[in-house]
Amino acid sequence: MRTERSNVLKVSDLHVQVQTKEGASTLVQDINFELEKGKVLGLVGESGSGKTVTSMSILQLLDRKTTTIEGSITLQGRELNGLDDKEIRGIRGKDIAFIMQNPMNSFTPVFTIGNQFVETIRSHTSLNKKQAKELAIEAMQNVNLPNPAKLLKSYPFQLSGGMLQRVMIAMAACLQPSVIIADEPTTALDVHNQLQVLRHLDKIRSEYGTSILLISHDLGVISEMADDVVVMQHGRIVETANVFELFDNPQHEYTKKLLNARLSIKHEEPITHML
């Protein structure tokens, strides 16, 4: 049974416009979705369909001088749209964590992993440096990172993409946020690391009851993780459905097109090993 209270994040009538020299241009419009506790909502669409704009507007990361966000974004009943910088900063990273596509660009190269990890923890909690470090090490152990104490001393460029992405997941998970927005979390990773990362995300979800907004163009990832799926095209939602319905019985032409664009392998593995 769906109750109003189980909705952790609710986006209604979201409308984002950007001011350009030629006038206002609409990036996304009429976006409505709800994210339930402990569930995974998949957001699919090709590049430029407004997936990232939607996620950025949830966190109010868009430039306020040039973009206008209309509509309502509520996190556990609290309106996020229009919050001032200080208030939203308390939410980013703590209540809503963000995992970005490119782990290499998401860390600053001039500070160590530990420095950035501890900074995130300390800006949201009253832990001292030592405690924060311990929490960081624990979080990194949870995502199977080898030798976390040493990793904390290394710089982002000394780690591989897969490892950095796991560090970012550890960072996102350590404060037990109610929502994780994962924007193409596995696109830059190889198949093995991809499965690992998905596994960790799912572990966080089941352990802390975190809701995940999973943004991806990869229908493989979506089919693996999502409970419900929102399909976006040209800044609008064209279809919202349960993941099984969407894959078995896509309604919209665009969804069918996306499903057809999947690359396939003739020699499919016998699926028994997956069951």
Partner: protein, 273 residues
Amino acid sequence: MSLLQVKAVSHSYNSHTFLKWKEPSKKVLTDISLSIDEGTCLGLLGTSGAGKSTLGKVILGLERPQQGQVLFQGHDIYTADKLTRQKIRRDLQVVFQDSYSAVNPRMTAESIIGEPLENYEKLTVAEQKRTVIELLERVGLSEKDLKKYPHQFSGGQLQRINIARAISLKPLLIVLDESVSSLDMVNQTLILELLSELKKDFGLSYLFITHDIKAAYSISDTLGVLEKGELIEHYNSKDQFFSSEHPVVKQMRSSILAGHPRFRSLPMRINKS
């Protein structure tokens, strides 16, 4: 004779830490031998850190290997005379993963694609412009895009420009280093189709470096698997990948996502229908 031959290439990187020069060097490639025939595509699979890109760089002549040889049409690309090297540089092109950082943000599409033409062909301004337009059209863009800057293109479009630049000198071999990995599915399929067409039209050969098994499968004729710097498997037919019993290959195969919610591989996500 094969177009490209890699003979027993080994390479290692020295890691330098501040004030500490004598760190043990890290072996990235060990005794790699492979060949690519004219008009064929070799897919090179491997997990991140396996040495795929290093091998790509070695083949492109950007990273001189410590041991072994790279022969292009029988010429060693590192010891050939200057003229031959110039010729090889023309016949050997590359398309990288990150389309945006592969172009100069202050150059227009016209000058990006025109740059290799300027260096190698003696064309008049009008001829060059016409060639650039032809190339743009060949990769599915149009004359309208001539004066646009990289930030005005999407990732998929920019990757098309990179491909146009790579084919502008009618090369023989293109190294595609994760060229479709950062694109969305629709664009990935379109770019793979474009690459297959170009391969057929110009008789091109590709070295297709990727971690995406499905993409490699769809474009390659032969497949190689790189693991920790060693070429552990080299198949003459890509289908052999699916019958291989090598543990690394088996693990790679089992990590392929089924692509349907009914066949999930994450234990906790199963039985949720």
